[in-house]
Symmetry: C2
Subunit: 313 residues, 2 copies
C-alpha cells in the first residue's frame, strides 16, 4: 500500500478540480457561492460487512456504487452537480491494486455525472473498509423538490423499473447461475445509474409536488413522503414497473417479483408525486403507481401483504 | 438501541436548523448561497481501533473531538461556521446511553462554536464505531488563507501551546497517575478547542500569508506549507511554546517535551506565516517559532533530532 501522502497525490492527479474551484490539497475545498442559488448537501456511510462483502463486490463496483447512492440524493431534490468528498478508512492487507480499482470506479461515475471530487480523507482501519461520501449539489433558490409537498389527490410516480437491484442482490447471495437475466440484475445492483438529469428535469417542471429517491424500497420510502407531507397513499401493485429480466428471473425461481419491487432497496430511481391535471404534460418517462390520499395509511391494492422496505438497524 | 427512524428523530429534535436553512429530514440539507462568499468544505473519518479506543475515551469526549478536528479545518482557512454533517456506523452492542452521550458532546461543541448539525447518516456496523464528519464554513471571496502563500522571510507563528494533546495521549496509554498536570493534558487531548475565532481574525488581517491547523505535529504539518508554497523553513526549538503542565509532566517522567511539541499531533492550534514587518501590528496572541527560508529543507535550530509528525499509514 502506498504511503498516505503519495496516495493523496495520486488521487489529486486523477481528479483535477474544475475552473474556479479549489479541490484537493488544502485544509478545505473552496467553492464559490452564487446569488439566487442554494447548496444541497448529503452524506452516506458504507461499512464492510454491513453494506457490502469484499468477496462479492469488485473494488471498481464499490467505487461506483459508493458515489451512486450519494448522487441519487442530489437527484432526489432536483439538484445539479457541484462535487463530492470521499473519506476512506482502509486496512493494510488489501489486495494489490485494490485502491486504484476503487478510485477508477469512483472516477468513472463522477465523470459520467459531472461531480468532481473536491476533497476527502484517507486513513487506516484495523480490519474493515469504511467509506463515507459527502456530495454537494445546487438548485435555483426555492426550486429544490422536498419530501413534504405531496397533496391529497396527487399521482404517485416512479422512474425506471423497480426491484432489479434487490433481485440482483438475492441472486448473488443465493449463488444463482449467472445467465443473461441474472447478469443484468447484478449490474443493476452493483452499477446503479442515479437519475440526476431526470431529477433536474422534474424540479424544473411546475407539476411536481414532492420527490425522493428509492433507496430502501417504496414500501419504506413512501412513508417518508407521507410523514413529511402529512398524507396517506394507495399503491396499485400491478402498476409497479417490472423489467422483463426481473419477471423472467422470478418465474424461473418461483419468487414474488413484487417482494423485490416494493420492499427491495437500492433502485436509486425517483419516487415523486404530481398534480394529476398536469400529468399529460409530463414528457419525462415515468409510471403512475398510485395516488396520494388524505391518509394516514399506506394501502396496497392487489395484495394482502404489507410490503415494508429495508431498515438499517 | 433505538430504531433507525426513532434515532434520527431524536437527533433532529436535539439539533434544530437555523433560520433560512433546511437541516435534517429530507434527502439533502439546503443552504442558501450568497454573492461574494465562498463555501469551505472538509471531511474527516475516525475509526475505532485506529483513531480511538472505546475503553479510553468517553462517548461525550468522542462526540466533542470528532467535531473539533473538523471545525479546526475551517479555522485553518479563516472560515466562519456554516454547519456540519455527521455519519455514524454503530455496532448493536454499544452500552446503554452511549449514543446519547456521544451526541451531547457533539452538540455542546457545535453550540459553543456555532456550527449547526444539518444532516448525516446513521447505519449499523458489525463491530467497530466509525464516524465521519463533514463541515462547511464560509469566507468572503478570495479571503480564505491557503497553505500555498508562504514567502521567504515570513515569520512562522503558532497559537497556544504545542504538545499538550500528545502528552495527554502518552499519559493515557502508559497509565500515568492522573494528577492535576496529567488531567490538564488529557483534557487537551480529549476536549480540544479549535481556533475558529482566531482563524477568522487572522484571515481578516492583511499580514498573514499562509495558514493551516496543527493536526499531525508541526514537524509534519509545516512540510505541507513548505511543499504548497515551494519554500523551506527554520524552526527554533527553544521558541516553541510549552505549557507549564507539559514542562512539569516531562520533567517528572524524564521525557523530552519537544518530542510532544514538535512531533505530536492533535493540538488543533493554528500554524501560520506572516509578513515580518507587519508582525508588531498583530494583536492576536501568538508565538514566533521560526522563519520561512528559500528552502527546500526544514531545519531545527537547537536540536540534532529530526522531529517528524504523525503519519496515518
Amino acid at each position: 500500500m502506498k504511503g498516505e501522502f503519495e496516495f493523496i497525490e495520486s488521487i489529486r492527479s486523477m481528479f483535477p478540480a474544475p475552473e474556479g474551484v479549489e479541490g484537493i490539497g488544502d485544509d478545505c475545498a473552496i467553492i464559490p457561492q452564487q446569488e439566487g442559488w442554494e447548496t444541497l448537501v448529503s452524506t452516506d456511510m458504507l461499512v464492510e460487512g454491513s453494506h457490502f462483502l469484499m468477496d462479492d463486490i469488485t473494488p471498481y463496483q464499490l467505487g461506483w456504487k459508493a458515489a451512486a447512492s450519494n448522487f441519487s440524493d442530489i437527484a432526489a431534490m432536483g439538484g445539479a452537480p457541484v462535487g463530492s468528498f470521499l473519506a476512506l478508512a482502509l486496512p493494510h492487507d488489501l489486495p494489490v491494486g485494490w485502491e486504484e480499482e476503487f478510485l477508477k470506479g469512483y472516477r468513472d461515475i463522477s465523470e459520467e455525472y459531472g461531480f468532481p471530487l473536491l476533497g476527502g480523507d484517507t486513513t487506516s482501519s484495523k480490519d474493515r473498509v469504511c467509506i463515507c461520501v459527502t456530495v454537494l449539489g445546487k438548485t435555483p433558490s426555492g426550486r429544490s423538490v422536498r419530501r413534504s409537498g405531496a397533496k391529497d389527490g396527487d399521482l404517485v410516480c416512479v422512474t425506471g423499473f423497480l426491484g432489479d437491484s434487490a433481485a440482483g442482490l438475492a441472486a448473488i447471495l443465493h449463488g444463482y447461475e449467472r445467465d443473461e437475466d441474472v447478469k443484468y440484475l447484478i449490474d443493476k445492483h452493483y452499477l446503479p445509474h442515479p437519475r440526476v438529469r431526470e431529477g433536474q428535469a422534474l424540479a424544473a417542471w411546475p407539476g411536481v409536488h414532492s420527490m425522493m429517491d428509492i433507496s430502501d424500497g417504496i414500501g419504506s420510502d413512501l412513508h417518508h413522503i407521507m410523514e413529511e407531507s402529512q398524507v396517506g397513499a394507495r399503491v396499485d401493485l400491478s402498476e409497479i414497473p417490472l423489467s422483463k429480466q426481473l419477471r423472467s428471473f422470478c418465474s424461473r425461481y418461483g419468487l414474488d417479483p413484487y417482494e423485490f419491487a416494493a420492499a427491495g432497496g437500492e433502485d436509486y430511481e425517483l419516487l415523486f408525486t404530481i398534480d394529476p391535471e398536469a400529468e399529460p404534460d409530463l414528457e419525462l418517462p415515468h409510471t403512475v403507481i398510485g395516488t396520494i390520499t388524505d391518509g394516514p395509511e399506506l394501502e396496497w391494492d392487489g395484495s394482502e401483504k404489507d410490503y415494508m422496505g429495508f431498515r438499517h438497524f
